[in-house]
Symmetry: C2
Subunit: 291 residues, 2 copies
C-alpha cells in the first residue's frame, strides 16, 4: 500500500504570458491587499522566504544578496563621501541594510509608499527588514514621487528600489520624478535605479535610459545575475552629475573598507559594466559604454 | 457571450523539486524516446523552438546564441591556431555553427551519442542544425567516451557540450574521460566544458573542477547569463596545457576577425572570468582567479 500522497503547493510568477517561474511552497505566511497592491510572503522549499508584490517576486532570502549588494555598493564605493542616502521603495529593508554597512553614511532615508510591505517584512523577513530599526535609518511611509518633489533635503546617493513600471511603481519610471531627483542631489550626486531585464524588457529599459539621458551628465548601465528574476540577467542604471563608475572607482577602497560581501567585489564592480553584444547595441547612443 | 476559451499548453522543467521554469507552447513538433533519453521539440510562444532532453532545456532559439557564443569563441580566440576542433555532444549543431565561423578551423569533428538528437534537430531546429551539413564538419554518431579513448587524432580545442551529469551525459563528468581528453590534445590544447550552475549545482561544479585540476596545468572557470537555464547564471570550465584565457588573449584579434556576435565581445571575454564573491569562495583553491 502506498503512503498517502502529500499535496504540493507551488507559487508561480508569470511573465508576459509566455514564461513562468515556479517555487515550491512549504507554507504561506502572509497574504494581504493594501491600498496599493497584493502582498504575499511564502516560505519556500528551496529559496527561503519570498516576498511577492502583485504576483511578482521582489525578494527571496536565498539570493536577495545579489540585488542588494549591487544596488548599494556600486554607487557607495564610487561617491567620495556618501553621507546622506535616499532609498525610494525598498520597504523590505535589504537595500537599507547594505547601505548602512558603510560607516560614512550618517543617515539613510527610506520612503516606502506601502506600510503593509514594511510591516509584513518586519514580521516575516527579518533577514532584510531588521535594518529598518537601525538608528541611522529614517523610514517614512510616503509617496516617493511626492517626497522628492517636496523635500528641502539634499542627498549624495539616491537609490530607486522600485517594482516594475506597472502598479504603484509606475511613476518611478517617469520624467517628472527624475527631474525632481536631479534637484535633490548634491553636487557629486549619484542615482541608481532598478532598470529591468535587457532580454525581456528592452523597451522599458530603453525608455528609462532615454529619460535619464536628458537629465543627467553621465549615464551608465550595469548588470547582475539573480536566481529569481525572469531570465536571470538584470540591470541597474547609474546616472550622475559627473562621477564615472569606472574612472572614479578605486578598487583599493573596497579592500580598505574591510567589508565582506557575498556577490560584490572590486572585480565584479568593473565587470558589471561590460555588456553582452546584443545589449551594447540596444543601449548604444543612450549610455556611456566602457572601452 | 464570451468567446470559447482556448486551452493553454505549457511545458515545464523542474529543478531539484523546488523550482520550475515553464514555457507556453504553441505546438509540439517532435516527441521520441531514443535508446538513451526522451527527446522533445516544441514551438513556444516566447522563446522560439526548444529542445528538451529528458525534460531539461537544451536549446531555445531565442537565447541559444549565449551558450554557443561562450563555449566556442572564448577558447577559439585564445588558441593561437585552432585548426582541429572536437565537440563531444552538441548534436543540435549550435556549437559547431559557431566553431565553423572561425576560418582557421580546418575540421570540426562532432561526436554525438544519440542519432535521434541530430535527426530531430535537422528537421525542426535548422537555426542550429544547419551547420551539421557543413563540409568542414565530420559528424559521428558514437559514444564520446569511447571515441576519445580510441582515436589516434589530435585536437587543438575540445568542447564538451554535454547534458547534465545524469543520463547519457554522466560519464562526461568523470576522471577516466578527462584523462583520455588530455591524451588527444595538441601541445597548446584547450578543453572547455559545460560546468553547471554555481548557484544550484555547486557540488557538481566543484567535482568537475577537482577532476580537471588533477589533469591539466591550467584551470579557470567563466560565466554567462542564459534565459532558459535555472537561475540564469551558468559556467564553463577552461582547462589547458598552458594557455591562459586572459594573459594569452589579444582583444585586437576579435576586431581583426571581422566576426560579429550577439553575446560575445572582447570585453565579455574578460569579464566572464570575474566571479561573484560567493563563487570565488566556492572555487578557491581549485581554479586560477583573475587579479
Amino acid at each position: 500500500m502506498n503512503a498517502p500522497k502529500e499535496i504540493e503547493l507551488w507559487v508561480e510568477e508569470r511573465h508576459q504570458e509566455m514564461t513562468a517561474m515556479r517555487y515550491r511552497v512549504a507554507r504561506t505566511l502572509f497574504s494581504g491587499r493594501s491600498e496599493f497592491q497584493k502582498i504575499d510572503i511564502v516560505d519556500t522549499v528551496g529559496h527561503g522566504r519570498m516576498l511577492f508584490n502583485d504576483g511578482l517576486v521582489m525578494v527571496s532570502e536565498r539570493d536577495e544578496f545579489v540585488y542588494h549588494d549591487m544596488i548599494a555598493h556600486v554607487p557607495l564605493f564610487v561617491h567620495p563621501k556618501p553621507e546622506k542616502v535616499l532609498i525610494i521603495g525598498g520597504g523590505d529593508g535589504g537595500t537599507l541594510r547594505e547601505v548602512l554597512r558603510h560607516p560614512q553614511v550618517k543617515e539613510c532615508v527610506l520612503v516606502e509608499i506601502d506600510a503593509m510591505v514594511i510591516d509584513a517584512c518586519k514580521e516575516f523577513i527579518p533577514q532584510t527588514a531588521a535594518a529598518l530599526d537601525d538608528p541611522r535609518a529614517r523610514v517614512l511611509v510616503d509617496d516617493g514621487v511626492k517626497f522628492v518633489a517636496g523635500t528641502d533635503e539634499r542627498f549624495d546617493v539616491v537609490l530607486v528600489d522600485s517594482t516594475d513600471p506597472i502598479g504603484p511603481g509606475a511613476p518611478l519610471f517617469g520624467e517628472a520624478f527624475y527631474t525632481d531627483v536631479g534637484k535633490i542631489l548634491t553636487d557629486q550626486g549619484i542615482v541608481v535605479s532598478q532598470a529591468e531585464s535587457p532580454f525581456y524588457e528592452k523597451t522599458m529599459q530603453n525608455t528609462l535610459l532615454a529619460i535619464l539621458k536628458t537629465l543627467f551628465d553621465k549615464l551608465f548601465v550595469y548588470n547582475f545575475s539573480n536566481l529569481t528574476y525572469p531570465g536571470g540577467l538584470w540591470s541597474f542604471s547609474f546616472a550622475s552629475r559627473g562621477l564615472c563608475p569606472l574612472k572614479d572607482f578605486d578598487p583599493a577602497r573596497v579592500a580598505r573598507s574591510g567589508l565582506e560581501f557575498q556577490y560584490y567585489n572590486a572585480g565584479i564592480h568593473r565587470a558589471a559594466f561590460v555588456l553582452p553584444e546584443f545589449m551594447r547595441r540596444q543601449v548604444d547612443g543612450l549610455v556611456t559604454l566602457p572601452d
